[in-house]
């Protein structure tokens, strides 16, 4: 499973990076979204994989931490999801504002040939 997830992270990242380097702002924004999936999975994977044992505790009694998934990366991902959502939204709005003001959707506000 670790191999699959690593590959997934790799493919998401590669697609994201490729798009990040493209000239159209919409490509960049899709790239950022893909990258944020990749990064979220990466953060998540830093706690190692634990299937079927969410960090939800019994009410009382001894807790053996090794039986549960590490909650910290999950909490980090949650925060990261929210923040990347917000910034993606912002980027989107700047993208359309830039398109409106410059007349093009090129990230530089002008076509390459110009």
């Amino acid at each position: 499973m670790e191999i699959i997830l690593s590959a997934a992270i790799g493919i998401l990242s590669a697609s994201g990076i490729w798009l990040l380097l493209r000239p159209r702002s919409f490509q960049v924004i899709i790239g950022l979204c893909l990258l944020s999936y990749a990064v979220n999975l990466f953060i998540f994977s830093m706690g190692r994989l634990t299937p079927g044992a969410p960090p939800i505790m019994p009410k009382g009694g001894f807790v053996d931490p090794t039986l549960y998934a590490d909650p910290v990366p999950q909490a980090l991902v949650l925060t990261a999801i929210v923040i990347s959502f917000a910034t993606t939204a912002l980027f989107l709005v700047v993208m359309i504002a830039s398109r409106g003001l410059t007349g093009t959707d090129h990230v530089d506000g002008k076509e390459r040939s110009q």
């Binding site: 960049v28 994977s45 830093m46 990366p73 980090l76 923040i83 990347s84 530089d108």
Partner: protein, 546 residues
């Protein structure tokens, strides 16, 4: 009891005020301004008090004058801890010192250019102050995001093609950098199991060898994110355009934004790769020195190649960043505390001076007509059906002898940035150069190269700025611009502060010297974080005493 919570006040005050102002109607700008001013002034007062505390030592968790604050009363390294040491306190004061003039300046017109300026401004301060205070890596990320988000908003404040285009680049690059930040932080957690900086500093010496490369990679990736913010070459090409495009008071605040990146690098590298870093000690110092040098060189070329003052000011931000980065590298390589002390002193001066310069740009380039012309320039033809465009009379009085006052202020900024006497730029450069040339442990070529760059950057600043200044003040036949007292008073205030910093250089250097010493003393930091007692664990009699 109150003093115990004073550490968090620089974060909470702007937060509360920023949130509170959301409940106001957007047109109640007067009230918002005064609220903001009160908030910022309170931050300054508290920051000064915290500096005093950092100097003499606080009453809780006293470790060489450091104070600690366990958020949610959770012990380190589990909860988030705020750490107030000399460096943090100093940065807080610097932030507030820059914020007040910028705020007052904005009152003259920029504050009206779009909705919720004052809230965004306060949130920017939340981010800055939080980034300086936190002792937790992920929390640092959160505060970075706060200050970045606010800076996006402020950069775009006023809209217009130039700003939006610059904003697009600024945001795209910073988003990418934030992703790197996340990768770095999580990788650190994956290899060490902690997010607490002090804990990390403790763990790094005894790390198993096979994990060390991963930790190095983590911090290197993290450093790339910081370097983007610090404006380090080759990750800084966005910076001049963005800073130039920003509204004047925002540009002034941006002067300190790069320093947050520098701060993070300084803090983290000294903690993790300082003398106590075991096999990792000194990691990355060489590259940091090189990057610092390239950044200074880039800034130097940029200043010379710039046509407008805004771009020049932005490049002088780069010079100041590069200088401190380079010195951080030297300090990390074992260069000692003296040069770090000088760099910190220099940083204070250069931040304030670039801030003042940003505030000067707009009045200097204003051909005629004051704020009204500015409004006309930035207002878009489409969609002005909104309330924020109503005409308000200019606030405040126009100043007499405009050109002389502006010219004088500009000249002083130039003197400061070029490192000419008698302003802190000069003292700061001497304070860096003296230990650099005295230091024999460092590679001589690098040290001398750095000295040469420091001197040359001063000369380049002088040449470039003189060119612009002469053009603006001497070779211009346009009628005298109308400049409001509200716009020039902040600049004069900053210059007075600069004068004081120079005059009181000995006191300042003693403080920064202590700061440099504390930065080298990783053990005290780490000890203090872990020794801080929880409020719940404090014995009752002790509580009664407080």
């Amino acid at each position: 009891m109150i003093s115990e919570h004073l550490i968090i006040a620089p974060i909470l005050i702007p937060f509360v005020v920023g949130a509170l102002m959301l409940l106001y109607d957007d047109r109640q700008r007067g009230a918002k301004f005064w609220l903001s001013l009160a908030s910022t002034a309170a931050q300054l007062l508290i920051a000064v008090e915290l500096v005093v505390r950092a100097k003499i030592g606080g009453d809780i968790g006293d470790a060489e004058g450091m104070s600690f604050y366990l958020l949610g009363d959770w012990p380190a390294p589990f909860g988030i801890v705020l750490v107030l040491d000399r460096l943090a306190a100093m940065m807080l004061v610097l932030t507030a010192l820059l914020a007040i003039p910028s705020l007052v300046y904005a009152r003259a017109g920029w504050g009206r250019q779009g909705p919720h300026y004052y809230s965004l401004f306060q949130f920017l301060l939340v981010g800055l102050n939080g980034a300086f205070l936190t002792g937790d890596l992920f929390n640092l990320f959160v505060f970075f995001e706060i200050l970045l988000a606010a800076s996006y908003g402020l950069l775009l404040h006023g809209s217009g093609q130039l700003r939006v285009r610059a904003g697009l680049h600024y945001i795209a690059i910073n988003l990418a950098a934030s992703l790197l930040f996340l990768i770095g932080v999580s990788l650190i957690y994956g290899t060490t199991g902690t997010l607490n900086m002090a804990h990390l500093a403790n763990l790094v010496a005894s790390m198993p060898g096979e994990d060390r490369p991963l930790l190095h990679a983590a911090i290197a990736i993290l450093a790339v994110a910081f370097l983007v913010k610090a404006g380090s070459w080759p990750l800084n090409f966005w910076l001049p355009t963005a800073y130039m495009a920003a509204a004047a008071p925002v540009g002034a605040m941006f002067a300190i934004m790069t320093k947050v990146g520098v701060y993070a690098i300084l803090r983290l590298s000294m903690l993790v790769f300082g003398e106590t870093g075991g096999a990792s000690a000194g990691f990355g110092s060489g590259i940091l020195i090189m990057l610092g040098m390239f950044t200074v060189l880039f800034g130097l070329l940029g200043i010379l190649a710039s046509q407008g003052l805004g771009r020049m000011a932005a490049h002088s931000v780069l010079i100041s960043s590069g200088t401190v980065l380079g010195i951080t590298g030297f300090a990390l390589a074992g260069g000692g505390q003296a040069m770090l002390s000088g760099a910190l002193y220099y940083m204070i001066g250069s931040v304030l001076a670039t801030g003042a310069l940003f505030l000067l740009i707009e009045p200097m380039n204003r051909e005629d007509g004051g704020i009204a012309a500015m409004l006309a320039l930035t207002a878009d033809a489409y969609g002005i059906d909104d309330a924020d465009m109503e005409e308000e009379p200019d606030v405040g009085l126009a100043i007499p002898a405009t050109m002389a006052v502006l010219g004088g202020c500009f000249a002083l900024c130039v003197l400061m940035l070029a490192g000419l006497p008698p302003l802190p730029g000069f003292v700061g450069k001497i304070a860096m150069i003296q230990p650099l040339i005295a230091q024999t442990a460092l590679p001589a070529g690098l040290a001398w190269g750095f000295v040469a760059l420091l001197i040359l950057s001063g000369l380049a600043t002088l040449i470039g700025m003189a060119r612009i200044g002469i053009q603006t003040f001497w070779a211009n036949d346009v009628p005298l611009p109308r400049v409001l007292a509200l716009e020039i008073a902040p600049v004069i205030a900053i210059l007075l502060i600069l004068g004081t910093i120079s005059f009181k250089a000995e006191v300042m250097l003693r403080y920064t010297g202590g700061t440099a010493h504390a930065l080298h003393d990783t053990a005290a930091y780490a000890y203090g974080v872990f020794a801080t007692p929880r409020a719940a664990d404090r014995p009752a009699d002790e509580e009664a005493q407080q």
